[in-house]
Symmetry: C2
Subunit: 465 residues, 2 copies
């Protein structure tokens, strides 16, 4: 679809200008006032146009357990999560749709889904997520979550050697699945990319990381991973490697300018220098880090060191929403309490740049996405500035980032295709989705996780609780 | 209005039950399944009924500057705020309506408005806020913000003596205004209460606090104040009193079971013991504390010491929304990073109790408000659990507190009067309000505050920046 957005506010540094924006064949072809109309006319009056934001880390199927997970730190929370994980590919499809819808309603046009795979149905799981994202039309980066060690290996032992149950699938078999996924589903030009995505040093062998590096190089695909989300993981890295996890990943060759790393809460200054040097991207998930008590990632230090930072919602069992603007708000203001010098704080303008261009950089797409620039792909969001939550009128981006915008996305396009119009998703029936999510669930309360019961005493002991 | 809500979910401890709830003449008269219908029938199917929450600290007229305030700490932020403060009572009326509407849409049925008074039009300012709150029908606790020292007195000098410009109005004149306000507007039975509310130790003399205590005792009204929001204030208290602000307020007699204190970020353990002993209430404003870099209030310590804690949005220039559920979410999960022992963390159920009964206690209304109990006033909110943001179905309160609910308030009642029905405010025209807020404002960007320019060097020096 070709279209021309007329009289729309766009940001120019810290100011705004009212202009027209022309989109032809999915790309931004002109930005200037009073353009000749090409294609459909979109009225931009009293609206703000921003590049689509990127939900740079989530786990879509966690949506089935949002609201009900106990107040636990990651290692125990994960045990509860897996005890009650859904095992049905249709659920995977529905929660991917739900994740995409909430991301779109909060300004996102891309999602990085660190997708939990159903054992034995790995490719079917990925196929369901691909189907959902293609139907709704969000740009999808699917990062199938893999590991080759069993859950208890993720908790420090308090000693330097440990024996854990072997993982149910070999490393080679896991890598074969990922290679098959790349061959079947990696179609960047159609809006679906596959990433290699070992879950993290806590549950992966070096062989798995090395296999992922090979696939990444062979197929020119991006790399993703969790990194040092918790204090327990920092402790575990020392047990496993005798050095920091970042040093180890650098030695393995996993860090690069197309590597994005979720969390990065427990890094030392030397680790930060390595991220800057390797040009890896930090994906900040502030709400999940608070909810799980992981800590406050040193984001201001990253910014000062020149590390690229962007934002994610993380999975809906640890947040428990997929509202990207909420993650950006909290991910901006949270750090003001870590540095009294307000000159270092993240401004709303900077936050939007991190959430758009920063996200694109981490996915090796900075030339194609992340700003309203001539020649870039039209992943765009139009915000209605007459909404009560954005009034009185002041600084539109300030209101959007620091306020609590609700129902403000008027329109969204991915690669020039309109996905939201007049505040409604145009590509799928959201009411039917709601009905399906409702029908396949029931009111519940706190559950008793068998695995938590088994491992809690050890966790408390090794963490000094 | 008498009514019967049928088949609605209510919380019973950590569980839920489906029941009917009957309201007669503004009070809850029966809670049981299959009640005889009295008055209007309200269909409660797939809905959750909670006591109305309390937005226990805000400054309504700050709404005019939300989104545009610079990234500054409180002392400098306040200088910018006052340089650009609105001076029009009609604006006060409109922002009170806006504050009430956003509070209602996020589950609140009461608001404590620490109301900034227009110099020379103090009673007119209060009258406008009263008019707004009565029109929309929210329960209002208006706490006219008073001080008797000039702005620069709020910044530590770095020495123990200091001379500041005298405040433009005498202490006696200020107290006369408050007494007149009580006589004219304090009508608790009509849903409007006046509180004494010196802004805090940083800008008030002992004489002002003492005068407020007298008025509080004479008219049986509650007390409110900011307390130790910033490190600068803790430093200032030592300069002014040679002891902590809490010790000083206790000596003055300001602390009581009907005293609520906003922020309480910089308290020592001995101060916490004083709050517990005097039964004062802490109003936690997590978003404002982050935005202004004030710090993280030690809320888990308060809970463990038996101090009553509730939540506020704070003014919309330091938040910048009036979404009470957002304040409750962040005010719950933020503290998980301050204490690794997850057994101390605030659960969603606890958070709702803090935001309802906790708020009522701080306003000396625990017998009348804050829970769904026989004989209590019907300040109630009905949430639509079929909304996308609350699906799939899991634990309703978990979804409400830990998620990002949007458009979920189906109905709200204050003293049995319906204020929201089918998600719409019934008492005022919200579209007209939006139009007024729009017409009286304009897009803007970062402003240059003259006062900030004058005091910034001193602030940086005394705070060691």
């Amino acid at each position: 679809m070709n279209f021309t957005i007329q009289n729309v506010l766009i940001a120019t540094g810290e100011n705004y200008t009212c202009t027209d924006v022309q989109i032809v064949e999915g790309k931004i072809t002109a930005i200037a006032p009073n353009l000749d109309v090409v294609g459909t006319v979109i009225n931009g009056s009293n609206k703000l146009l921003l590049p689509g934001l990127i939900n740079a880390h989530t786990h879509s199927s966690e949506m089935w357990q949002r609201g009900v997970m106990s107040a636990l730190p990651l290692e125990l929370w994960l045990a509860e999560l897996y005890d009650f994980a859904p095992l049905d590919t249709e659920q995977v499809y529905l929660s991917a749709l739900g994740t995409a819808a909430e991301t779109l309603f909060s300004g996102g046009t891309s999602v990085v889904d660190h997708l939990v795979l159903i054992p034995g149905q790995e490719l079917a799981t990925i196929a369901c997520a691909v189907r959902a994202y293609q139907e709704i039309g969000i740009r999808a980066f699917i990062a199938p979550l893999i590991q080759d060690e069993s859950l208890t290996a993720g908790i420090p032992t308090g000693e330097t050697t440990a024996n854990h149950e072997p993982f149910f699938r070999t490393t080679a078999a896991t890598l074969e699945i990922i290679e098959a996924a790349v061959q079947q589903f990696h179609r960047p030009e159609e809006g679906v990319s596959i990433l290699v995505a070992p879950t993290g040093i806590q549950l992966c062998t070096d062989a798995l990381f090395e296999g992922c590096i090979e696939l990444s190089d062979l197929y020119n695909i991006c790399r993703h991973s969790h990194l040092l989300e918790t204090k327990a993981q920092a402790k575990l890295a020392q047990e496993k490697y005798g050095c920091s996890a970042v040093t180890h990943l650098k030695q393995l060759g996993y860090l690069s300018d197309r590597t994005s790393l979720a969390h990065c809460v427990w890094l030392e200054d030397a680790d930060i220098a390595i991220l800057a040097e390797t040009q890896a991207t930090v994906v900040h998930n502030p709400l999940s880090n608070l909810r799980l008590g992981s800590g406050i990632a040193p984001i201001l230090k990253y910014c000062q060191a020149g590390v690229n930072v962007t934002f994610g919602c993380d999975g809906a069992s640890s947040n428990d929403s997929q509202d990207l603007l909420e993650a950006i708000k909290i991910g901006s203001i949270l750090h003001n309490v870590t540095d009294f010098d307000y000159r270092h704080w993240i401004t709303p303008q900077k936050a939007i740049e991190m959430a758009s261009l920063g996200g694109a950089k981490g996915l090796n797409m900075a030339e194609q996405l992340g700003s309203i620039s001539l020649g870039k792909q039209a992943d765009l969001v139009l915000y209605d500035l007459t909404n009560l939550s954005l009034l009185p009128r002041t600084d539109p981006i300030g209101l959007l980032v620091l306020g609590r915008p609700t129902n403000v996305v008027d329109s969204a396009w991915v690669n020039g295709k309109q996905i939201i119009a007049n505040g409604q998703v145009t590509t799928i029936n959201v009411d039917e989705l709601r009905q399906e999510l409702f029908n396949r669930s029931h009111w519940t309360t706190k559950r008793q996780s068998q695995t938590v019961a088994e491992i809690e005493a050890h966790y408390r002991s090794v963490m000094g609780l």
